[in-house]
Amino acid sequence: MSLIQIKGTGGEEPISQMISAAMPMRSAGVGKLCGMDVGSTTCKYVLASPEGHIIAQAYERHNTRQAEKVLDFLNRLEVEHGFSPETDRVFFTGSGAGLIAPLVGAKVVQEVVAVAAAVEKLHPSVRFVSEIGGEDMKTIFFNGDGPSKSKQVLMQSACSGGTGTFIEKTARKLEVPLEKLSQMSYLGHTLHKVSSKCGIFAEADANTLLKAGVTVDEIIASLFEAVVYQNLATLTKGNTPQPEILLLGGPNLFFSGLQEAWRHHLQKVWKERKVAIPDDKDPSALIRVPDNALYYAAQGCIEVGLREQAHIGLYKGAKKLRWWIEEGQHEEKKKQGRGGLWADIEELESFRSRYAETPSTKPQPDIAPKPSAQPKVAPGLVGIAPVRGKGLGRVVVGCDFGSTTAKAVCLSPEKEMLFSCYALSKGNPIEDAKLLFRQIREALGDGQMLSLAITGYGKDLLKNILGADCAVVETIAHASAGVHFFPDADCICDVGGVDVKIMILNNGKVTDFRLNSQCSSGNGAFLQGVAERFGIPLSEMADGAFRAQAMPQLSMGCGVFLQSDIVNQQRKGWQAEEILAGLCAILPLNVWIYAGNLNNLTSVGKKYILQGGTHKNLAVVKTQVDFIKSKVPDADIVVHPYSGEAGAIGAALVALDWWERGGRTGFRGFEVVENLSYKTATSVETVCHWCPVNCQRSFIDVELLGGKGRTWSKVPLSEGWERVIVNNSCPKGLVEDLNEMKAIKAEIEKTKNAYPNIADMVRNEGFLRAH
């Protein structure tokens, strides 16, 4: 008969009593045993007598000071329990064990081995364990019984999806304190779709839901749902979790809503897969969360330690650990880290002389191409005055309506840059357009506009209203501007504040395109956010990073883990400037490999153009240049001379091409643009219903000669008016409602019918059963 008395989830006995009862000793040594679990967010220890009876246990957050917390624990053990060097034994487990264990003579026990040892001892009837940690999740399946008992372990630690950090990060964003979070429930709430794949996506989803008026309770319940789904979907690999089930780790213990979600899903799976449940058992009682769920890994260390010979894991005292904390780690920091962003001062100066010229010291050049050299002007031409006195003569105009600013440039037919201006976006594209065209009109004087092309987010909205001749997709605009300056370019890398765009060119045409607007990894906003946290102004970021003589090696990839990595490096003594340098150093990896998924840069080509706001940071340019050159030694890397205006210049070049091919402008005229009258409507009728987010859109109705109106709309519009839709968060919201969608779809179907696709025939007829 088993000595273990297991009760329901509510009334577990303390682990010490259970263990004491459960553990007859096999190879007891002379000293006490300490099992220490050094996790990503907390440290736990369990102290046991030489026979394995539990004497003490403790659990505390280490706030990224793992070594310090371990020292604190060991000091307490020595003082309070007489834990002695050369007599007592210590066994470590957890993500921080590998570094600290050798300093105190401890033996390292692999985490899953430790947890499994404790579970096998305490709960022999358990068939499935889920342990969710701060930055990882593990599942253990036990099969068979007795000597034939085997276990299958599945672990995930590369991504934040489904981990404790995933829950806490989102809860923090929603301003839910941990105490409250632990009480929040899962059952009875409407669930919404929250990405389970990535902590940052989940945070974005939670934000959107909150904006749409979904209650915090429902969002948290959805978060629990996402965690359980992620664990079941990725870590079961075809196995069904069989009863009994044990849920371990902090999140499983503390968040009662998460326990509810597990119970709900596991019971559903059991029902679906007809898993036999003993008649006398309540299914939910077969899913246990022991009160001491946190200590299982530490306890498992003791179980493993008991099987070891008496000299294994002999405690060497805390002296070496103390030395490590006070001195060793700082020395190690330098060894482990890498040098600064430059090898020697000559190299830095040579880099600066090529890439760091200020526009104010140089005359504004024509944009006629100078393919042999990097144009001698750095980015930043916004708002310059006309260079040709009054009037610009004949010009083509390119406008780039972005989400934060609108820019325009005027080129002569000979492709000289005559004028450029910008307007900060006011969220109303009509007002933005008026501001831009007022400036163009003033500069143009009695000159003539030959053609007008627009690009950017607002291009399709404004084309008809302005009478623009071409609406140019952003890739074409950027590629035209890039190829114009550097005809042999193979790649344009645009790193903006919120997205990363990589355009791969072949013979001057964009053949491949990578867009990453979903993951914060590698974008400028992340870098800026860290700099702000350190109180370093943007303009000084590059100089600061260049001052660093050494920098920590940060990990590429997930922004959630990168954030905790930064805190960790800070604790190790790395300074703000050094961390910024480290961030600049991994940015290229995040851009090219993590976000762009381009592992083989040699296949991309040799000539690279860097553009976008983030490349105004010279330290980033340096790391980009070094990174690309490390992959493609003979690469030629240039920063676009008009980084900010590249889109508008490209649009203007397309406009010029159009005019040269015989096009004659349909521009409605400055007078018409200036006098555009419009009315704005924001009401329940303008809410978007394409998805549950229900964006509160605004309709801007513009009075326009020849406007088609929208008589079918819920907000009807008579002829002579055109509608512009704004404040939608995705392109789908540009379609007003089902009526408009039907009209668009009918038009698409008409075209599709006229232009056949062989795949349609295969889809329609390939699987027909009767001919």
């Binding site: 075809g238 045409k509 053949t511 698409i748 062989i758 795949a759």
Partner: protein
């Protein structure tokens, strides 16, 4: 060798007469995955010839995230090939998602497949991972308990070399005799019916492609060739990317169904054959000597055809995430296509998620280049060829003269219908 005597001769004949069982009530589910996308009608013809009623042949629906979530949950494989991984959702749908239960789940392991290039290439094999896909996915349904048996379903996964017709009767007889209580003769008959149905479908699809090319030739309009594997026609795997180009007013061909007519191909490859670059229009030895993989061979052949055919002005390459079979073909296929100035665009690393924002931008990019360059490309590629070619012969009206100058850009733009 045993010499048949009269009595044994007659005995054999008597016993080999098709003894058709009543299979009118048998319901057969076939997962619509992988190379079933190019062999579909074989299975329809085969099963119908065995007496399975057409309405009792059930193909799973197109791949979708919902299908995977609802029916494949927790039964996934560790395979990194998404088209293989998603099979568990198809199995689940056929096992659990049918109002009227199926009796047989037929998921063939296709070792080789028919190809227009057969005889000119080393072999027409399938990818090993794809061939063995049903085996690895099946494990998720058998690991703990035999889900098929529980549901009263016979699981049948015959190993079939559809590319070698002479092996197929034996293979299907061995693989399915217990499932359908087959005899050899009726299997042979059903295999013949399967090939006939597939050949008829392929001929029709190739005929359609020819019609499209003839229309393009007469109207001097461009069309697009999709270079992909057959399962990219699955809307959950190829995400209908080519459909968005079609909606902009461009007819779309797929390399699997390019016309195989000799009059057309001899015209396109006339110069290559004259200088000895290739022996016949189906010879790909000049560009791909290691020609054992059927779909890969056809991709390389498609690249050659696209490079030569004047009205194919653009090739769109689709490839799934980390496809090891596609990897070595990326650069050569692109170089072949671009050698004659034909446009080439790649959508790589496709998986379960449709990258809608990025696709929209790329579609607009492609249509920009198509409208800007197609006419020049057609003119340039026509100049490589000897005469006006077979597409403009016969009953079609005389070809309009190609305009010396480009049409006004605005007219070109009007052809483009914007898609949301």
């Amino acid at each position: 060798m045993r010499i048949p005597t009269l009595p044994t001769w007659f005995a054999t004949k008597a016993s080999s007469a098709p003894t058709k069982k009543d299979r009118s009530q048998v319901r057969v589910g076939i997962p619509k995955v992988l190379n079933v996308w190019s062999t579909h009608q074989f299975w329809v013809g085969f099963l119908k010839a065995l007496g399975v009623q057409p309405e009792n042949i059930i193909f799973s629906s197109d791949t979708s995230e919902e299908q995977g979530r609802e029916h494949g949950k927790g039964r996934g494989t560790v395979d990194c090939c998404y088209p293989v991984k998603c099979i568990s959702g198809h199995y689940g749908e056929l096992v659990f998602g049918q109002k009227k239960k199926i009796n047989v789940l037929l998921s063939p392991m296709l070792y080789s497949i028919p190809s227009v290039l057969r005889g000119n290439v080393v072999d027409t094999l399938t990818c090993t991972r794809v061939m063995a896909g049903p085996e690895s996915v099946k494990a998720g349904f058998l690991k703990e308990r035999d889900v098929f048996a529980e549901q009263g379903i016979k699981y049948a996964s015959p190993f079939v070399s559809l590319g070698d017709p002479h092996c197929v009767t034996d293979q299907l007889y061995d693989g399915l005799k217990d499932v359908f209580e087959l005899d050899k003769k009726e299997t042979e008959h059903a295999v013949a019916a399967g090939y006939a149905a597939l050949d008829a479908f392929n001929a029709k699809a190739r005929g359609q492609s020819r019609k499209i090319l003839e229309w393009c030739a007469i109207n001097q309009k461009p069309c697009i060739l999709v270079m992909a594997r057959p399962y990219h026609m699955d809307t959950g795997i190829g995400h209908e990317i080519e459909g968005e180009l079609q909606a902009h007013g461009y007819p779309v061909l797929w390399l699997q169904y390019l016309p195989g007519d000799l009059d057309l191909l001899n015209w396109l490859f006339e110069e290559d054959m004259r200088i000895g670059r290739c022996k016949n229009p189906f010879d790909i030895n000049d560009v791909w000597t290691s020609s054992y993989s059927s779909n890969t061979n056809e991709i390389m052949w498609g690249a050659k055809v696209a490079a030569r055919c004047p009205w194919i002005t653009c090739v769109v390459r689709l490839s799934s995430y980390e496809c090891g079979m596609d990897q070595p073909t990326f650069t050569p296929a692109q170089k072949i296509v671009e050698a004659t100035g034909t446009l080439f665009f790649k959508f790589g690393d496709l998986d379960s998620t449709k990258p809608a924002g990025s696709v929209r931008i790329r579609i607009e990019t492609i249509t920009h280049y198509l409208s800007k360059y197609s006419e020049d490309i057609i003119r340039k590629k026509r100049a490589y060829l000897s005469d006006q070619g077979p597409l403009l012969e016969g009953e079609w009206p005389e070809r309009p003269e190609v305009e010396a100058e480009s049409p006004a850009p605005q007219e070109q733009q009007e052809q483009v219908i914007s898609v949301v």
